[in-house]
């Protein structure tokens, strides 16, 4: 928890270009959610899903610098691993693999979630260990399977790149510090939103934005109860839930791996085993494979599995089709361009 006594225009407070708010950044999500809740709700009150805001007010300089760092493979011990390696923007913010390849060439322990719309999640990562993007970025920088760098190393790398150094000095009028690095990376991640999905447009009043099938799918989504967990502005991402409520979740290997323990890894409570942060279903059509294990490759399959495990229902195919159609309407735009992914499960 950072407790800061810095002037308002410092990194730790929300700095929207010319507007400086005395609100620590880590609460940006809360503000956004609140903003999302209030006026949006007025247009479509009672709907448990809200459209994404079209844009967020962020510090453009920080976003730019963060973008550079995010895509810079030099910020890793191997020198070849940028954040963007696994979070590819042209792959809907993920890499299309069940488990990404890590630093040493071995597969990662858990499926890589999409980097898009992370700002709207109430926790970061599957097990929900981090409350802020900065914390998560720092953990990943230190993660031996990912960037695998210590702070002195990170700072040394940045110091050795004059452009970065100059930009940091320009933006922060201070010597390079860890928190500045995290600030710019997080700011960039915040900028990765995908508004204007067809369903969002439908919610905003554009009745023709989605097809009949998709509308029926939304009804079924609600009727079956998928909406109970996959709700809110991010269609999920705002609560924890166990996987395997009405039927037991059986991992592929037959045994629970560490990753399968989920929230238990954070809380240590027995009842938190196999409890995960409910993932956001935005762009879900492009972000396969699915589940924390990445074991399900098609949407149909995962919908069926969810029905069985979570709802205790056997969802007939005709309903699955509709639900999947609805899910497909959740794909948004980044910088005005609809997201795409290769080998997308359409």
């Amino acid at each position: 928890m950072w407790v800061c006594r810095q002037p308002l225009y410092s990194i730790n407070y929300i700095n929207l270009g010319s507007i400086h708010l005395p609100i620590p950044r880590r609460y940006a999500l809360g503000i956004i959610l609140l903003l999302a809740c209030l006026p949006a709700n007025a247009q479509y009150p009672g709907e448990p899903i809200q459209p994404l805001p079209l844009e967020l007010e962020l510090n453009a300089d920080w976003v730019r610098l963060g973008e550079q760092l995010f895509h810079d493979p030099r910020l890793s011990s191997s020198g070849a691993m940028a954040c963007a390696n696994c979070h590819q923007l042209n792959q809907a913010g993920t890499d299309g693999m069940a488990r990404s390849i890590t630093n040493d060439g071995s597969p990662d322990l858990i499926n890589t979630p999409s980097i898009f719309n992370v700002v709207f999640n109430f926790r970061q990562t599957w097990r929900g260990a981090f409350k802020t993007l900065e914390e998560q970025a720092e953990a990943d920088l230190h993660n031996p399977r990912h960037a695998n760098l210590s702070w002195p190393e990170i700072l040394a790398i940045i110091n050795s790149i004059p452009d970065y150094l100059a930009e940091f000095e320009r933006l922060f009028a201070d010597n390079l510090q860890a928190k500045y690095v995290l600030t710019v990376i997080a700011e960039y991640e915040r900028s990765l939103i995908t508004p204007n999905a067809p369903f969002d447009r439908y919610l905003r009043g554009e009745t023709g934005a989605i097809t009949e099938l998709q509308r029926e799918g939304y009804m079924l989504f609600k009727a079956y109860g998928c909406i109970s967990c996959h709700q809110g502005i991010n269609v999920g991402g705002n609560l924890f839930q166990r996987i395997g409520i009405f039927a037991e979740y059986k991992p592929l290997s037959g045994q629970l791996s560490k990753a399968d323990l989920g929230l238990f890894n954070v809380s240590g409570r027995e009842q938190d085993k196999l409890v995960f942060k409910v993932p956001s279903l935005r762009n879900v059509a492009l972000t396969g494979p699915y589940l924390h294990s990445g074991e399900i490759t098609s949407l149909d399959e995962v919908v069926s599995l969810m029905g069985r495990l979570q709802l205790g229902r056997a969802i007939p195919d005709k309903d699955i089709i509709r639900i999947v159609a609805f899910l497909e309407s959740l794909t948004g735009e980044y910088r005005g361009v609809p997201l795409t992914a290769m080998d997308a499960n359409q």
Binding site: Y27, L33, L34, G225, C229, L239, G312
Partner: protein
């Protein structure tokens, strides 16, 4: 004000100012804005807590179907708590308590969210299932079974609305009973299984949610630690306010003190100014007085004139402009030696005051004598920074002195001349008187002798008348001889030095009386002589005085049957000779002491008339006085006072004549 006072005032005022600053800082430490902000923040936390409760209840009741508001409120709460912690460091401990409660609240909240999602779904689905079983007529059911299943819906609803122990029990029992139901229809069986599954889920989740909510709203609720914080903060604030009040009072007191100090300084300043002005006025007066009397000039250490007063200009005959800037040697008289000037300079250069009479030369070339005092005025280091010369023109006095001196010399010469003349004249007189007496005696002796011879040898040849004539001649000659003796005596009195010594007059008086008595044995005179009357006189002359006075007394009381003669001393120190004789006519008292003046006829009393003159002269020579008191026939007294010291002056002697 002395430097020491100044420093102490400065120190005190700095201390007071420091104290003022300190007190001000402390007094304004309780920022009312901050206080208001803190109270607002606490209120905000309470509001957020209330909002959380509301949203949770809304979610529970199904009116709020997504969790974003709850999450946002929680974040706001944490943020508000952080702000509060920053604003009010004194309540850190209480903030920790709230944070603890919040963490526990959050855990419960997450559990609630998860459970609520599942519960919502199961409630929704089980309703569908029950409807399917009982209303859709697809399945064959006994009425009891149908009733049981239908009853489930009610029980589930009751459980949601009124979760009592009975409700749980009832539902549980119903589900168990349903478990025992045997249905041939597979589909129906599957539905029943599903109902049971979801029913149990509903049971579990409802219980779990109720437990969680109970925990959130009652046991680990946020309201209490927030209230505690509020109370604590208000208590602290009150204490701070009290302190601030104290410091405000202290601030006031120290301001007053400072003001008093300032006042004190100002008053002193005013007084000093007044003193200064009075002193200046007085100095001005003094300067004026000085300028009225004295000639004043000031020179710099080199001797160049920097100031002259009007009298200077007047005395020296210069205009002021002609003097300022010129060296003082301009006025050198030329009448003093080089040593004189070098002594002057060495004195004043040493910082000493020089005083002497010196001559200066006027513009006209005259020398004037000035009684001069030169005072070096020293600076802080003790060096002379200017010389102030104050002079008085004593030329006139000098001239007078010179004249006086001349006169005195002249007088001295004159006196010597006159004395010589007088001595010569005296000697002449002496020789004259000696020769007179001596030479006069011879013929006198002849006259007396031969007339006596005539009486002795030719008394037969002479008749009565002839003898009478011869007798007269003889007597006259004798008288003349006595007179001449008396004159001699008188003259001798004035000659010779006085040899004063302490003599016993009483003893001398005794001797004289004895002599007188011896010469007239048949007289009886009552004599009283006070013993031990001492006096400082010339012994010879003292005897003469007493002889004259006592013989007079003896003589002039001879006609008295009971003659009385006294010799004594009175309180004034006069010794006196008194008799109860015939006395004299007091109208003629001024003739008494004149030589040859007699107030009685020779036939009555014989005498030369020089006795008292002699007494007077002797007494005068001793610087004393003689006086007489007389009541004729009763008492006659002659008083003589002889001073102890010899204050014999020429003047006194002259007066004696």
């Amino acid at each position: 004000m002395k430097t020491r006072d100044l420093i102490s005032v400065l120190v005190i005022s700095i201390l007071l100012l420091g104290a003022l600053a300190y007190f001000y800082d402390k007094a304004t430490a309780v920022d009312p804005n901050n206080h208001a902000t803190i109270l607002r923040q606490i209120e905000e936390l309470q509001t957020l807590d209330a909002k959380l409760t509301r949203d949770v209840l809304l979610v529970r009741s199904g009116l709020l179907r997504y969790y974003d508001p709850i999450n946002a409120t929680l974040i706001s709460f944490r943020q508000g708590l952080d702000r509060l912690r920053d604003l009010s460091p004194g309540t850190n401990h209480e903030c920790d308590r709230i944070l603890e409660a919040l963490d526990s609240y959050e855990v419960n909240l997450e559990d609630f969210k998860s459970s609520n999602a599942v519960l919502r779904n199961s409630l929704m689905y089980v309703t569908t299932l029950i409807k399917e079983m009982t209303l859709d007529n697809h399945v064959e059911l006994e009425s009891s079974s149908a009733n049981l299943i239908a009853g489930l819906a009610t029980e589930i609803m009751v459980l949601q609305r009124n979760p009592s122990l009975e409700a749980y029990q009832r539902l549980n029992d119903s589900l168990n009973r349903l478990q025992t139901l045997e249905l041939a229809d597979l589909r129906g069986h599957a539905i029943i299984d599903s109902i049971i599954k979801h029913g149990h889920t509903i049971l579990d989740k409802t219980r779990s949610i109720d437990q969680t909510l109970s925990d959130m709203f009652f046991r680990s609720r946020l309201r209490d630690p927030i209230l505690t914080l509020q109370t604590q903060y208000l208590k602290q604030h009150a204490v701070h306010e009290d302190h601030a009040q104290l410091f405000r009072a202290a601030l006031f007191v120290s301001s007053v003190l400072l003001l008093l100090l300032v006042l004190m300084v100002v008053i002193r300043l005013i007084r000093t100014t007044q003193n200064l002005q009075a002193t200046i006025a007085e100095l001005r007066n003094q300067k004026f007085a000085l300028d009225e009397h004295a000639i004043v000039s000031i020179t710099d250490p080199k001797g160049d004139i920097t100031y002259v007063n009007d009298k200077f200009c007047q005395s020296m005959g210069y205009e002021r402009e002609e003097l300022i800037g010129k060296n003082h040697r301009l006025l050198k008289s030329g009448r003093h030696t080089a040593e004189f000037y070098s002594q002057l300079w060495s004195t004043i250069l040493a910082g000493q005051v020089w005083h002497a009479e010196m001559f200066n030369r006027t513009r006209q070339g005259q020398s004037i004598l000035l009684d001069t005092t030169i005072v070096p005025f020293l600076d802080a280091k003790g060096q002379a920074r200017e010389y102030v010369a104050i002079r008085t023109d004593i030329t006139a006095r000098y001239k007078a002195e010179v004249e006086l001196s001349a006169y005195r010399d002249r007088l001295q010469d004159l006196v010597e001349e006159r004395t010589a003349e007088l001595s010569a004249s005296n000697r002449e007189l002496e020789s004259f008187s000696y020769s007179v007496s001596h030479d006069l005696r011879a013929p006198l002796r002849s006259i007396d002798g031969f007339s006596q011879a005539l009486i002795d040898e030719y008394q037969g040849l002479l008749d009565e008348k002839g003898r009478d004539y011869l007798d007269r001649i003889s007597k006259a000659a004798q008288r003349m001889g006595t007179l001449i003796d008396g004159l001699l005596v008188l003259s001798r009195v004035t000659r010779g030095d006085l040899q004063r010594q302490r003599i016993n007059l009483s003893a001398i008086a005794e001797e004289i009386i004895t002599t007188l008595q011896t010469s007239e044995q048949d007289r009886t005179v009552e004599v009283s002589i006070q013993p031990d009357i001492y006096v400082v006189m010339d012994s010879r002359l003292a005897r003469l005085v007493l002889e004259n006075l006592l013989s007079n007394a003896w003589k002039f009381s001879s006609k008295n049957a009971h003659a009385k003669i006294e010799f004594a001393r009175n309180e004034q120190g006069e010794f006196w000779v008194g008799d109860n004789g015939v006395g004299f006519d007091t109208n003629y008292v001024n003739k008494l002491f004149k030589p040859f003046q007699r107030l009685h006829h020779t036939s009555e009393f014989e005498g030369t008339g020089i006795g008292l003159a002699t007494v007077q002269r002797i007494v005068a020579r001793h610087g004393g006085t003689v006086r007489v008191e007389c009541e004729p026939g009763v008492m006659t007294r002659f008083y003589v006072s002889i001073p102890e010291q010899s204050s014999h002056t020429l003047e006194a002697s002259i007066r004696a004549d």
